[in-house]
Symmetry: D2
Subunit: 430 residues, 4 copies
Amino acid sequence: MGFEIDDEFIAKQNRKLEAELETDYAHLGEVLRRRGIDIEEVTKRAQAFRVALPSWGVGTGGTRFARFPGPGEPRDIYDKLEDCATIFKLVRVTPSVSLHIPWDKADDLRALREFASSRGLSFDAMNSNTFQDQPDQRLSYKFGSLTHPDRAVREQAIAHNIECIEIGRALGSRALTVWIGDGGNFPGQIDFRRALERYLESMGEIYAALPDDWRLFIEYKLYEPAFYSTVINDWGTAYYCACRLGEKAFCLVDLGHHAPNSNVEMIVARLVQFGKLGGFHFNDSKYGDDDLDAGSIKPFQLFLIFNELVAAELEGASGFDPSYMIDESHNVTDPIESLMMSAMEIVRAYVQATLVEREALREAQDACDAIAALATLKRAFNTDVTPILAMARRRAGGAIDPIAVYRASNYRQRKAEERPVSKGTFAGIV
Amino acid sequence: MGFEIDDEFIAKQNRKLEAELETDYAHLGEVLRRRGIDIEEVTKRAQAFRVALPSWGVGTGGTRFARFPGPGEPRDIYDKLEDCATIFKLVRVTPSVSLHIPWDKADDLRALREFASSRGLSFDAMNSNTFQDQPDQRLSYKFGSLTHPDRAVREQAIAHNIECIEIGRALGSRALTVWIGDGGNFPGQIDFRRALERYLESMGEIYAALPDDWRLFIEYKLYEPAFYSTVINDWGTAYYCACRLGEKAFCLVDLGHHAPNSNVEMIVARLVQFGKLGGFHFNDSKYGDDDLDAGSIKPFQLFLIFNELVAAELEGASGFDPSYMIDESHNVTDPIESLMMSAMEIVRAYVQATLVEREALREAQDACDAIAALATLKRAFNTDVTPILAMARRRAGGAIDPIAVYRASNYRQRKAEERPVSKGTFAGIV
Amino acid sequence: MGFEIDDEFIAKQNRKLEAELETDYAHLGEVLRRRGIDIEEVTKRAQAFRVALPSWGVGTGGTRFARFPGPGEPRDIYDKLEDCATIFKLVRVTPSVSLHIPWDKADDLRALREFASSRGLSFDAMNSNTFQDQPDQRLSYKFGSLTHPDRAVREQAIAHNIECIEIGRALGSRALTVWIGDGGNFPGQIDFRRALERYLESMGEIYAALPDDWRLFIEYKLYEPAFYSTVINDWGTAYYCACRLGEKAFCLVDLGHHAPNSNVEMIVARLVQFGKLGGFHFNDSKYGDDDLDAGSIKPFQLFLIFNELVAAELEGASGFDPSYMIDESHNVTDPIESLMMSAMEIVRAYVQATLVEREALREAQDACDAIAALATLKRAFNTDVTPILAMARRRAGGAIDPIAVYRASNYRQRKAEERPVSKGTFAGIV
Amino acid sequence: MGFEIDDEFIAKQNRKLEAELETDYAHLGEVLRRRGIDIEEVTKRAQAFRVALPSWGVGTGGTRFARFPGPGEPRDIYDKLEDCATIFKLVRVTPSVSLHIPWDKADDLRALREFASSRGLSFDAMNSNTFQDQPDQRLSYKFGSLTHPDRAVREQAIAHNIECIEIGRALGSRALTVWIGDGGNFPGQIDFRRALERYLESMGEIYAALPDDWRLFIEYKLYEPAFYSTVINDWGTAYYCACRLGEKAFCLVDLGHHAPNSNVEMIVARLVQFGKLGGFHFNDSKYGDDDLDAGSIKPFQLFLIFNELVAAELEGASGFDPSYMIDESHNVTDPIESLMMSAMEIVRAYVQATLVEREALREAQDACDAIAALATLKRAFNTDVTPILAMARRRAGGAIDPIAVYRASNYRQRKAEERPVSKGTFAGIV
């Protein structure tokens, strides 16, 4: 049994900060009361918020140039779940983990499920992988998978996705996320229309294998690994495919998968309005699919996205039930720290969006009063909700300052000892 | 009756270049024969190609900083048609003109139609204008038109669009293009979902007024004049709206209306595949909606777009009947010269795309042979089809070298004399 | 004598908010004390901060499609100064105004200077205008000004700039900002190298006319009004020119003048490091040179820019003395409100940057601890410094809530009555 | 001794195409004669043109998601030189190879040099590698190399660069290209100014070790592998550093290393004008540093770049002596085919640029005649110069159709037999 951070350690660390937290929380409560907001309601919402962890996120990521692993990298899905459990213990909003097959394959799924549930963890969406070749794979995905011109390759990819569903059923998952790297590097390489027809045909077979209570998430991406054209390249294409496939099919928004200057919060609003928003891969980016920590580059954009999500939630928008997940590549940080920071920033944006005075906003919109509308959003965004986030964590048994507790625990050093480096250890990247 | 370039003048200018043209055409015929292509079939296609002129394109355009008018600017729709007729006479592929209301309003529509038809001109899609306020306008479009929060403003905008349809019926037009500037400059200003609902409601009323044999084109644009959010901002939104409105509604692609790095030819393929490609506003751009001359910045992209269009045409793709138009802002050139160059570059791309050896391309695609696929496209693109374009023009009575003939005719100087400058002359920009 | 908001009115409005402000300020003081920061020092800095107003910013801006003026638009430089004085009175950080010639020409400069100084206003950098033709202008700038192929046009543009210096001397200005629209819309139109040589030659003559205690600011911009190439297009070009011209020449950064995805804060750091940062045109943007209100789109970027500026200030970086100015286009808001919001957001970013714990940051950087470095910046950015900003304003005689006081004063309605609309009123845009 | 394509085989393949080539060449000669251009002069220039091959380019590239190797991958520098020799034999413009250390390290440099020169190959610029960790490396480059906060890491990186110079001297190279991945993924991670100071200090030591007849190329890149800030991120920074280092230091332009929408041909003109253009890494891209085949995405941009280069060459611009190299990542093609296609497209652009009628261009520029200027460039670009390229190759002993000859030779299959796959074979990517 490996090292774990125990509750007592957390509680002890918390005690140093509690007095200050109470003071700050009380003052913030007063500030919000002036706006007609009950801080306790907000804190309850913060406690109820959930965002899933990606199993591959606890490993160090890399670029095409290099990967620089850190100490104590997880060696298999059990190690990964251990790290996820640590994150969950400290930040309290991440009780579920999203698996990537075949990276996370396990011989005994029942044992895996028990290992997870004994740590309070469950399984979020399953992720298939047809953008890499595996050692034992019969046919190559070099030129595509679900859209490959060769039917045999497509069938292999379909079978893999169906296997992911089966594994997911055994683990209690309820969704399959399909992201494919299919596309072309040169004009002419791919026939745009025939490739999309093949995609719809392949996805139709996967969709047919989906249990009734599952959802299918179509993840679009502008480019990379294909550098000229990508089959599922934008929300419009994903939306069309989701409509064609049926009511269990939805679009998945990864924040880094858009063209420069795109208004992502408006895309989110579109998918809400059209009833096809499946969920999110949260991260941040400055250039392309940089997979940086959520909120690290464009925190106001993250807030504006949650402004749309909270509005839809409060209105009870039809069919609105998005699945939130983190998907990042931690190349220069301790992945556990990055995931904790990201989870906290995501809750921050959610809580800030909760503070938006919606009646005032609507009045400003109806009066074409752009200054008042912006000021209403900014009042919420500028509010430092750190005390709410910390109070929500503490009340749920987590850490007031998760990074500090984690560092004080020496978790990473302990894992470095427990997990001797074996050649070829690689956590995978999406 | 104003100055016109007469056929004899064109014929005389052509005679200087005929011998060379025959030689070049013969050699190109031989080159194409080796590829199994009959040059005469290609030339026939070049002669049959059509692209409409925008009435406002014959005036000098401008930016928000300044407009620098040139000599002989058209003063009204009659002057504009005169300039369009001159273009048509020389390049022979532009027999129709697209009007913009209220800029092109005329008291006597029958007289206007006769003025046009006596010059061989007909009327393409009508364009409404709710992005500016007109002197006599009751309510302002400052904060929107078809999506304005105030129903009275929406009704005014709807009525204007219906008036455009009525004018178009009198002139023999068969389509209405709707582009609105509606959007917001700041987060919060516009409720994304409610604005789109209002759009659909307003457009529904316009659609209901559409004659049976008309089509409705929805023009999307990423930004400008709104700089944070635009209601009809991308092809996905336009596609959704076209589906909601009905089978007479289609999407219109303006090449400059996309995010940086977008693969426009793939968007074209999508709309072809989904049966909702209405037409094009051709132009070129480097940064935003720069409205530069077609083919001046990214000629290979223009070719790749036509590669999709020609493929759809040859396959007889269901519902494929795109309407081609030029839409540019000529700020530093003689607008007539720019429109002639643009029309010729558009035919060039069309003819190059016609030369693509489609069987070889398909074989390369099926064999995942990216090099052969690219080489097949490049063989067509690298072919200098100038002799085909010139021969097509000459056979149709046009000029072998339209720019040279135009300059030799002194048309611009003559118009400068005929059209004395009056204060406030302004051709308008889209 | 026109309507003014008087000090008593401001004081009365302030009284409603003072108790809450004191509470919030006290609590923030406690929070900062824990970090070792004395709130009074920070508030002093907030009070000392200065950012100039653009005379043209108090008029409604527009796009190439339309301008929708509002009520009470300023009619001349005196009206503009009146509006600037109102802004200054309420926000207290904008005591100087930047003029644009010939828009702001006045017959009696001494009277103008007195009019300004009686309202506490002085004159910031002068701005020349060679991107428009003026009614009485001999030669056109259609094809360029300081870089025009025709020497006579260049001489006219040089003379205009020298006239701007002379006007500025009379008004007490100490800097000239030169932004030119020169560039090309098509490949081939401009010879890149010869155009830059002509620029250097022309600017050399202007530089020679610069008083000893003046500075020359070179403003670069990627594109618009030229849409293919711009002569002074990026910081590298501006830097080269500033070096060539001499030690009084510096680069001016307008936040909206960069390519998509550019790291603007790093450009700022470069110019600081190379001793050539002259100043800023603050605004915000999502797509191009959108000229939106500062901080409205990317507030974290604004903070990161100030993080560089405050670091340079605290270190006493050699030659560091940047000139801060707002430059925006207010198309859908009351310009006075937008300028007040912008000024406040700029001080907000400055104050947040002041809160960065620089020793902790440096330690994190030296330890390659990216998480700690980011967390240090975020701790400052997430702090709601609104009480500091409000306290600084109140102590300086300004408004705790400037927008509310402005609206309550009915200033705009009063000006609408005082300034009857005359045809052709236009405030100009940059 | 491995399989080689022999001259007789090439000659035999050529004979099938010679008659057609002669016809096409003769007709093109006539067309050019009308423009006052002697085709023989152009063909001579095409024969004299040189572009270097990257040793790593003959291996299959990959992305961060996967690498899909092909058959017959080169296993070491000798295999790579064999492939380069094959390319050179067929296209005749690539007699030199650029090495990457430590990937291309060899025990016996004299033997390596002889192996190369016996195949007509020489060695172009040396490339150091401090963006990856090597198995035997003492200190990690995870957080930087030449700019790392830790002096020991910087010293290791400096020593590696000096070793590259020493290897290069033994091989007859005359230049060192330095590209570093140093930068940060998060705001705050890197102190922009201190990092650049460390860069200059480190590079100063490398510069000091440079032989007198060598040049140092500074390669800039906007982003990747760092996704927030990059130390040497743009041409302006590279230019500043080159000036600081001395007259042997120059800037290297990789076409894919710029922000979206950048005018790369203008950057080239700037570096020519400022005397600091060192050379090129040719490739093409649509999104980021996609490393696609030269001319495959934006052939007109490639032409416009060569338009600047040919102009500088013809004018004898001071210090103009650029080093041309290909740098691509061949992920889905046979790398040998991609490199041949790329080399041919680069010569195509060079030859097209040679056809620009420079006097007509200058006249158009001086007359502000944008249409004539663009038409002059387009006349050259639209010319199908394939016969000149083919004739130049044939006259130099190469193939009229290199791809066809290569495929007919079964070179790849032969190498697949000769080079059995060993685990871990990896050619490396830049």
